[in-house]
Symmetry: C3
Subunit: 314 residues, 3 copies
C-alpha cells in the first residue's frame, strides 16, 4: 500500500480528514460503521480532556453546532476561536495563529475557510500530534457533509451498488457536490446523474463517472436518491437564468417527483430555499430525509473525531 | 379540567413556558416551590445529556447568562446559537432553522425575539418532544422575569394576600409589567397599583385588576413592594416628557420612599438607569433587593427547565 | 507585615491578582511553584462548580482562550460575557454590570479593559467573596503575562540571580514591559536592559533598576534572555521612525543573535510581526521559546486561579 502522508499515518490509518477525493473505500466504510455504532449511543467518556478548536472563517450554524454537539457527546472540550476578534484581525498569519492555538495543547482543529486548500495547508503545518478536519474549503470540498450524506443513503437504502443518485443544481460552485460525487463513486454507486443549467456545470465533469442532464425530468428519471443543492442566488446572474425560470426548470416539485422511484429519498445540505430549488410540500413530505441528515451529521462527526483521536493515539 | 394544548400536555401538566396570562395558579406555585428547593442546592446531575439551545434574536446579558448558568447547574448542555452569523442571515426562515436545530437532538429552546408571539409560534412548530421557554417576546410577555419577581416577593414577604404592590414606569411598552400584573393577580395580591405618565399607560389597563395613579406619591403610598421599570429613553419623546421631568415626577428617591411602608422592598428588572428612574442611594440601599432578583433568577430558571424536562419525560 | 488590603486578605495571602508592582516576591514564587505542579497534570476536580466570568472589553485570542482552557482544566465553569451585546451597550455602568454578574453567584472575574486601573476599580467594588484577575488594563500592567514569562525563564534558565535579560521595543506603551520589569526586579534578576528608540522609552525608566540602550547590538550583548515586544504599527508615527528603519535598527535577526549568549532564549508575548520586530528564522529557530510561553500560560493561569480560590475559601 502506498501511503499518502498528507492524510495517512505510517501504519496506513487516517491521520487527518481533509477530502473525499482519493480517500480509500475502506476509510469511508469505517466511518459509516463507527457512526452506526455511535448513533443514539449514550455519552462516550473515552475522549475526556481532549481539546477540539473550531476555526470557522466563514459563518455556519449547522456544521459548527453539530461539531460542537458531537464533541460534547464524546466528552471532548470544544473551543470556539472567535475569528472576527482574533489576532488574525491584528495581522497575524493563519499559521502563526494555528501554532499558537496548538501550543494551548489542542488535539484537533476543525477548519472552514473560503480559500480552497486551507485545511490542507494547516494540516501540513501542525505538529504530528494534531489532527485536522476540513469543514469546508471554498469551492473545493466539504467532506464531512458528504460522509453524513453517505450515512443517510446507507441508512435508507442499505447499499450503493444498485442505486441511481441524481444531484441537482449549481454543480460548478458546490463543494458539497464535489465531495458527494467522489464518495458516491468510491462506494460503487451504479449511476450518478448531475443536473443543472449548462453554465453551472464544470467542464471537468467528464473526468468523473457521472452523466450530465440539462433536462431535469430526464435527470431524475427512476432515481433512488435526489440530492438538491442550495442555490446561491448571487450566482444566478452568471448562469443567465432568472430565479423564476430556475424554479420552473430545476425546482423539485410534486409533479417532478413522479418521475423518480416511488420510494426515492430527497436530500438537501440546507439551508433550503423554499420555492427556489424545492417546493415546500416536497421538503416537508414523506420522501424528504433532510432533517434526518442533520441528526446523522452529529453521529458522523462523532465517528470522524473519535477515529482520528484513536489513530493518532490522542 | 380544560386542557390548553398550546402549553399543556394531555395529563394537564405544563409542556412549554410561554406566558403568565391564563397560567393556572398551581403552576406558578409549583415553580416557586421547585425554585425554593433548588436555591442554593449543589449541582443536580439528573439532567445530564439534555441539550438546551438558546436563540436570542435580541441582545441580553442577564437573562441569557442566568439561563446558561441555570442549565449548567442542572448538568444540561447549553448551546448558544449565534443568530447574527446564522443561516437566518442567509435567508432561512425561523421555522426551518428551528427544525434544523431540533434535528440536532435538542430538548429545549429558550427564545427571545422582538416580535410578540415568536415563542408561541415556535412552540406550535416543534416536535412533541421539545419544550420551549419564552425569554421575552417583543412587548408581549417576559414570563421567567415575572416568575423570579414572584419568587423574590415570596422570599421577602412570605405571601401575596395582604400585599400592596406598585409598578412604576412605562407600563405601555413593558413586557415585564404585563407578565408581572398577570402573575400578581393570579397569586391573589391584595392591591396592584400602576404608576406612570398617562401616555405610557395602555388603554387596556382597565381590564386588569389594577388601580392607576398618575401621581407617584399616591401610587406608592403604603406599598409593601415597589417595582421600578427600566425607562427606554427613546420612548420619552412619545410620552411628551423630558428625562429631568420624568425623574422629578417618577424617580424613586429617598424622600418618596418615606411614603411606602418602612419595610418596603424595591425591585427592578435591570439594567437600572441611575438618576433616571431611581436614585443611587435607593438602588443600593437597605430596601433594595435588585441584586437578589438576579440571583433568584438562576434558581427560578433551574426550576422551570427541570419541571419542563420532567413533564415531557426528557 | 503590612497588609495591602487592595490585594491581600487579612491573613496576608493574595486576594486578587491585579498587578506585579509591589507584589511580594514570595507570592510570585508561590505562583511559579504551583504552576510547576499543575503543568502537565491531569484534570483537577477540586474547583468543580466554581464560576469564572470573563469580561474582555478588548479583543483577545490567546489570553482569553488560555484562561478558558485553564478554567476547564481545574473543572471551573467559564462564562464569556458578550460585551458588545451586553447591557453596558444599553448604558449600564461597569460597576452595575459587575454587581449583576456577581449576583449570579460568580466567584471570579477575569477583566481586560483599555482604561488603566479598571481591574483595581472592579476589585474595590466586588463583594468580599469574589476574586478579580487583571488580564490587561490599558498601558498599565498585564500581570498574568509577566507571570508566564517568569515561569518560562525559570523553566529554561533555572534561576534569575545570574541572568541578563533584554527587553526590546516600545517600552513606553507596553503593559507587558512594565509587568516584566517589576517581576524581573522582584525576582532579583542581575541585569535588565531595555532597548528601543528614545521616543518609545518612558522618562520614568530611571526609577526602575534597568539600563537603557538605544543601540540594540549593545543592548542584547551577552544576554541570557531576549524579550521582543509586539510593535504597534500605528505608534511608529510618534516614534518618528519608519517600519523599514525599525526592522533595520531593532529587528531581531540571525546576525544580531550572535551578540547574545549562545544559549539565549528568545521570547515574545505574541502575536508576532514577522519581518517587523523579528526575523522568521529567529522566531521559528532553536532559541525561540515563543510557543512554549503560550503553553505555560495555561499552567500559570491554572495556578493563579486555584491559589485565589484557595485563599478566598471559594
Amino acid at each position: 500500500m502506498k501511503i499518502n502522508h498528507d492524510i495517512q499515518l505510517s501504519d496506513g490509518t487516517l491521520k487527518h480528514f481533509l477530502n473525499i477525493n482519493n480517500l480509500p473505500k475502506s476509510y469511508i466504510e469505517d466511518i459509516i460503521c463507527r457512526a452506526e455504532k455511535l448513533h443514539g449511543s449514550s455519552e462516550i467518556t473515552a475522549y475526556k480532556g481532549r481539546v477540539v478548536a473550531s476555526l470557522f472563517f466563514e459563518p455556519s450554524t449547522r456544521t459548527k453546532t453539530t461539531f460542537e454537539l458531537a464533541a460534547k457527546k464524546i466528552s471532548a472540550d470544544f473551543i470556539n476561536i472567535d475569528i472576527a476578534n482574533s489576532s488574525t484581525s491584528k495581522g497575524e498569519s493563519i499559521i502563526d495563529m494555528i501554532k499558537t492555538i496548538e501550543a494551548m495543547n489542542c488535539n484537533m482543529f476543525v477548519v472552514r475557510h473560503s480559500v480552497p486548500g486551507t485545511a490542507h495547508y494547516i494540516a501540513e503545518s501542525v505538529s504530528s500530534n494534531i489532527a485536522v478536519i476540513n469543514a469546508g474549503d471554498g469551492s473545493n470540498e466539504h467532506p464531512t457533509q458528504a460522509m453524513l450524506d453517505m450515512f443517510t443513503i446507507k441508512k435508507h437504502k442499505g447499499s450503493f451498488e444498485n442505486l441511481k443518485v441524481s444531484i441537482v443544481g449549481d454543480i460548478l460552485h458546490s463543494r458539497v457536490a464535489k465531495s458527494l460525487i467522489f464518495s458516491l463513486n468510491t462506494l460503487g454507486t451504479k449511476a450518478i446523474n448531475i443536473v443543472g443549467p449548462k453554465k453551472l456545470i464544470p467542464d471537468s465533469y467528464a473526468e468523473w463517472k457521472v452523466q450530465y442532464f440539462e433536462d431535469m425530468d430526464q435527470g431524475i428519471e427512476n432515481s433512488d436518491v435526489i440530492i438538491m443543492l442550495r442555490l446561491q442566488k448571487e450566482r444566478m446572474h452568471d448562469a443567465l437564468i432568472s430565479l423564476d425560470s430556475y424554479y420552473e426548470e430545476y425546482g423539485l416539485n410534486q409533479t417532478r417527483m413522479l418521475r423518480a422511484k416511488k420510494d426515492v429519498i430527497v436530500m438537501h445540505p440546507g439551508p433550503i430555499n423554499r420555492g427556489v430549488e424545492i417546493e415546500s410540500s416536497v421538503a416537508d413530505g414523506p420522501n424528504s430525509v433532510i432533517l434526518n441528515q442533520v441528526s446523522y451529521g452529529i453521529s458522523v462527526r462523532m465517528a470522524i473525531m473519535s477515529i482520528l483521536f484513536d489513530n493518532n493515539n490522542l
